[in-house]
């Protein structure tokens, strides 16, 4: 399921970028901007989910002392 979403997102991004590159003289900066911002948002979401995942799993099993705990 996770992989499927990932592939879908990648495909959407890819088409966005491919389309911007389609015409060498008229560059679609609007599309580029949107693509870039979506990319940034995804990264942020990814980053935060890594932090939160860490938190949740810690709560589940009081595992060994993790140094990177906030």
């Amino acid at each position: 399921m996770g992989h499927l979403t990932l592939v879908a997102v990648m495909a959407a991004l890819f088409t966005l970028f491919v389309e911007t590159e389609a015409n060498p003289f008229v560059y679609n900066y609007e599309r580029l901007r949107i693509g870039g911002l979506v990319f940034a948002c995804l990264l942020i979401v990814g980053g935060i989910s890594i932090l939160l995942y860490n938190r949740c799993s810690r709560r589940n099993k009081k595992a060994e002392d993790d140094n990177s705990e906030i």
Partner: protein, 1023 residues
């Protein structure tokens, strides 16, 4: 401020370490005077002499008029609070201390450059102005941040204070009156009773079973008897002086006040403490060293290019602006914030493990510590007398002395034990305080004498007493309603009264064999440093003592000899459970643990052996002498690794002898030391020549090196420890049992009183030192790709590849989170197995770190950035060959037909858009190469594959910096606000090969370093 309260004076809490105010005006002589022993002589005078000296009367006390006169002359009986640092001074210290200075100089230079530009050019570029403003803002914000951090811990300090004003019962003009302790003057007749705090230094003139708890002054756990006779020349040892702010535990006493306020023994210690000057923290020294290096590099680069630009034909003013530009570009803007946040995070982590750090910089100090001088009472021990051993049925039984009753117990089935327990219960005036039924017995509070409390906790029983006769201070007997005579006291005196002994519940005649067994047991228990009590009883024959027999305790009308000896019980203040383990860990971490206590040598030695300060199998000179049966003088002191030094011997030692002792013995116990001597010991330790492996991870490389100036930690809880706590590089006080004075003097407070937390402190300190190195290496690396564009701009006249704004975006934006995340990095190897850092050799930042960051990784990064720059320029039509030398035309507003390599014409505005797109691309490239940089900075020796990517914050940092870069590039409006333009996706990948190169390069370097310990690579690149 809590006037009238004996020890609620306050030392300015934070940052006092490098304070240099008060002592100067008082002068060093005064301080030396304070270091000497107490000048009290009243204990040797007779009561009449004392009365005469203070113009007082032994019955009537002072007259009110006299008292008022003395009060006006001597001032109130309270400790003068030492000068506190005003809040604004503390704030300024945060603003202008250490690292901030570097940034301030940078900011001033920026404003200077802007002023020059404004004066000479029509339309000056605002870059320098912005940079100056940003630099100032960074310093101010970071300053505020650390100020509030420290204010928070000082607030916790405030909460320790107890503001209840102290009362004292004085007799003036023959009338007893309750007055504020502050009003007590020298000569006053004062009465104290159990539970009171002694209001001033008293010469006792009469007492009834008075005992005082001197543990905070002398470190003795046992309450001391006070009586009117002089028993010792030393005022601290004699029985007829009671000291200000110690507690009267039981009994009553009457005394004449001989000293008040700052002139008391406590007052002298407090003044000594607040007058002590202490040096900079090790981390502050390291940061200073780092600033020197950075400034050196900056000035060197600046001057070189200043001369080069003059040779190239720039004007003087332009060259000066370049000079300033280059110097400022070397300032790592983000590092101040990074270091502060890293230290704060560690401080937080330590606070969670119950180590409260008062001064942020002290976080690291424990990590560098090579010697720990620890107090005994209350620090290593529980400060609670507990029954440790018992001797009955001709056998020594061991009692459970652990804090949580987890230890094994002895066999309680013998009837002798029942008798023994009964006697202990009967000969006991201690009672549990009410309302503690839910608590375990050991945790309950007890009212009464410490040794009786110990007995009470050991046995649980109650019988009714008929008569109780304090026979003398150590020997008393009590009888219950079955007319059982019970007695406890000094074993040899109890034995004298006995003719039989109880074995397995049966009385047997006391023969010589039994007596010898008793002597052996007594000696053995005494040798363990324990306080031994003997117990005996006698069933009173009913015909002689019928029911209702009137026992006369004054004129003893009953049998008090030919009793039946039951057993011995011995008590000690047992070590805390976690201490032996912690001492062992300190040992393996190369830290020397020394015990410095006010208690008696035998007890001190027993506890030292118990906790491993004197390890098993190590002997003192005395032990060797005893074993070989030769006089002590014939033993070679070098043969003994351990030694126990008495305070009186310490007095006669010269500095050289002292150094000799500290150097030649690994396991040292100082006993019977005064607060002043504790201070001298700490100074001696700090003077130590420390032999250590310079680079312990690699013993082959280093051999033995030595350096001066060991870093000393002191732990303690009493007032007597506070001068040493203050003088130490890091003073560690106890949060629960510690006195206020000691907490104020310390840099770190163990909130749970657990000595083991020190090990946590050492671990965290060492870890943060390593991780700061990594953070700094990471942050410094990006300096090179930030400076080189400007250098090339000057040297080869290309359009500027990277602007000031983008530099700030890196330093204060994308680099921040990854740099901070390195503080969360786990240790590479077992940091508790290596020797402490050698402050002379193992620097926070050394040339090797600069060489790696600037010379190697930084250069590759710069290549990556320039590659992206030339790619974009070329894609737009400017091939590198046209770019060189194009600068003057490029930056000329009036040139609107600049031709590129293909003959296309560019207007000024179009050119600038391309230039700023290049800035953005350069910026993004730096982010990309910094990915690799943060990963290689995770480790200094191990491969990343060994270390793993467990640091979640670091992964988050990678995502965050990339997202921030994308956001800055793509967000609409950025072209106006920061002049950053959207990049085509392909431009992101320009720096990828360089990123990969950095990773591979460093992995190979570390591989060689690991494979070839001590080799060239290690010598030149291991930072």
């Amino acid at each position: 401020m809590g006037y009238g309260r004996s020890d609620s004076y306050r030392v300015a809490t934070t940052q006092d370490k490098d304070e240099k105010e008060s002592p100067k005006k008082k002068g060093g002589k005064d301080l030396d005077d304070l270091k000497k022993e107490v000048p009290i002589t009243e204990h040797k005078m007779s009561v009449e002499e004392v009365c005469r000296k203070y113009n007082t009367d032994i019955v009537q006390g002072l007259t009110n008029a006299k008292a008022a006169e003395y009060l006006a002359r001597d001032g109130p009986n309270a400790l003068t609070p030492p000068p506190t640092t005003p809040e604004w001074v503390k704030f300024c210290r945060q603003l202008f201390g250490g690292f901030s200075i570097l940034l301030w100089i940078g900011a001033i230079l920026c404003f200077l450059a802007y002023a020059i530009q404004a004066a000479t050019e029509d339309e000056p570029a605002g870059d320098n102005l912005y940079l100056g403003i940003v630099l100032s803002a960074v310093v101010i914000i970071t300053g505020c941040f650390s100020y509030f951090q420290e204010a928070k811990s000082s607030k916790i300090m405030e909460s320790f204070k107890n503001m209840v004003p102290q009362q004292a019962l004085v007799i003036r003009e023959g009338e007893k009156m309750q007055i504020n302790a502050e009003q007590v003057v020298a000569g006053d007749l004062v009465e104290v009773k159990g539970g009171d705090r002694i209001p001033a230094d008293l010469r006792i003139i009469s007492s009834h079973g008075c005992k005082v708890d001197n543990s905070s002054l002398t470190g003795e756990s046992e309450p001391q008897t006070r009586s009117p006779d002089c028993t010792h020349d030393n005022p601290l040892e004699t029985r007829n002086i009671a000291f200000f702010s110690t507690n009267c535990v039981e009994g009553t006493a009457r005394g004449i006040v001989v000293c008040t306020g700052d002139r008391t023994v406590m007052g002298r210690i407090a003044t000594l403490t607040s007058g002590l000057e202490t040096g900079k923290t090790p981390i502050a020294k390291e940061i200073e060293h780092f600033i020197h290096i950075i400034t050196g590099v900056a000035v060197f680069l600046g001057v070189t290019f200043f001369i080069l630009s003059l040779i190239l034909g720039y004007s003087w003013l332009e060259a000066v602006i370049f000079l300033i530009g280059i110097i400022v570009a070397n300032v790592p803007e983000g590092l101040l914030a990074t270091v502060t946040v890293c230290l704060t995070l560690t401080a937080k982590r330590m606070a969670r493990k119950n180590c409260l750090v008062k001064n942020l910089e002290a976080v690291e100090t424990l990590g560098s510590t090579s010697t720990i001088c620890s107090d005994k009472t209350g620090t290593l021990t529980q400060n609670r007398m507990t029954v440790a051993h018992m001797w009955f049925d001709n056998q020594i039984h061991e009692a459970d002395t652990t804090e949580d009753q987890s230890g094994s117990s002895f066999d309680k089935s013998s009837t002798t034990w029942v008798s023994l327990a009964r006697i202990a219960a009967l000969c006991n005036r201690a009672v549990f305080k009410a309302g503690q039924e839910s608590l375990p017995i050991l945790k309950r509070e007890v009212a009464g004498d410490a040794s009786e409390s110990a007995l009470l906790k050991c046995i649980e029983d109650k019988n009714k007493k008929v008569a109780e006769i304090p026979f003398n201070s150590t020997n008393k007997y009590q009888s219950d309603k079955h007319y059982l005579l019970v007695m406890k006291g000094a074993p040899e005196r109890i034995l004298d009264r006995c003719s039989t002994i109880m074995m397995q519940g049966k009385e047997q005649p006391m023969d010589d064999e039994m007596k010898e067994a008793f002597q052996n047991a007594y000696l053995e228990l005494g040798g363990l440093g324990e306080r031994v009590l003997g117990f005996c009883h006698l069933f009173m024959p009913e015909d002689k003592y019928p029911k209702g027999f009137a026992f006369d305790t004054d004129d003893v009308n009953f049998q008090t000899d030919n009793l039946c000896f039951v057993g011995l019980m011995s008590m000690i203040d047992p070590p805390r459970a976690a201490v032996p383990d912690a001492v062992g860990k300190c040992r393996s971490a190369g830290i020397k643990v020394i015990m410095v206590t006010g208690d008696h040598p035998i007890t001190a030695k027993a506890i030292a052996k118990g906790v491993g300060i004197i390890s098993e199998g190590n002997e003192t000179v005395e032990d060797i002498a005893a074993r070989l049966n030769i006089p002590v003088s014939q033993v070679n002191p070098r043969d003994a690794k351990a030694c126990v030094i008495h305070g009186t011997d310490l007095k006669d030692l010269t500095q050289e002898q002292m150094d000799d002792i500290l150097r030649n013995h690994t396991e040292i116990v100082f006993a019977r030391t005064s607060p002043q001597q504790k201070l001298i010991i700490v100074e001696g330790c700090q003077r130590q020549v420390l032999y250590s492996h310079a680079n312990n991870q690699n013993p082959k490389l280093c051999g033995l090196l030595f350096c001066q100036g060991a870093i000393v930690a002191v732990t303690g809880d009493g007032v007597n420890d506070s001068p040493a706590l203050k003088k130490a590089d890091i003073g560690v006080a106890m949060g629960i049992s510690g006195s206020d004075v000691s907490k104020q003097a310390a840099d770190m407070i163990l909130l749970d009183d657990n000595f083991a937390s020190i090990v946590t402190g050492v671990e965290e300190g060492r870890l943060i030192f390593d991780n700061l190195k990594k953070s700094i290496a990471y942050t410094l690396t990006s300096n090179i790709p930030e400076i080189t564009p400007f250098l090339f701009f000057i040297m080869v006249n290309i359009p500027l590849p990277l602007g000031t704004i983008t530099i700030l975006c890196i330093d204060l934006g994308t680099d921040m989170v990854p740099a901070i995340s390195l503080a969360y990095e786990a240790a590479e190897s077992d940091i508790m197995k290596r020797q402490p850092r050698n402050p002379l050799r193992d620097k926070l930042v050394n040339e090797r770190l600069i060489s790696i960051a600037y010379g190697q990784i930084g250069m590759i990064q710069a290549l990556g950035g320039f590659f992206a720059y030339f790619v974009i320029m070329a894609e737009n039509g400017f091939l590198p060959s046209v770019l060189v030398g194009i600068r003057l035309n490029w930056d000329d507003r009036s040139t609107n037909d600049l031709e590129d390599s293909y003959g296309q014409q560019w207007t000024y505005e179009q050119r600038k858009i391309v230039e700023f797109t290049c800035h953005t691309a350069f910026f993004v490239s730096i982010v990309v190469v910094q990915w690799a940089d943060v990963i290689i900075c995770k480790t200094r020796r191990n491969s990343v594959f060994q270390q793993g990517m467990k640091n979640k914050i670091l992964i988050f940092g990678l995502f965050e910096e990339t997202a921030l870069a994308a956001f800055l590039s793509y967000c609409p409006g950025m072209d106006v606000a920061l002049r950053m333009y959207p990049l085509k996706p392909s431009w992101w990948f320009c720096a990828f090969p360089y990123s990969f190169l950095i990773f591979v390069y460093d992995e190979i370097r570390k591989l060689i370093l690991r494979r070839n310990p001590g080799g060239w690579v290690e010598k030149e690149t291991y930072y």
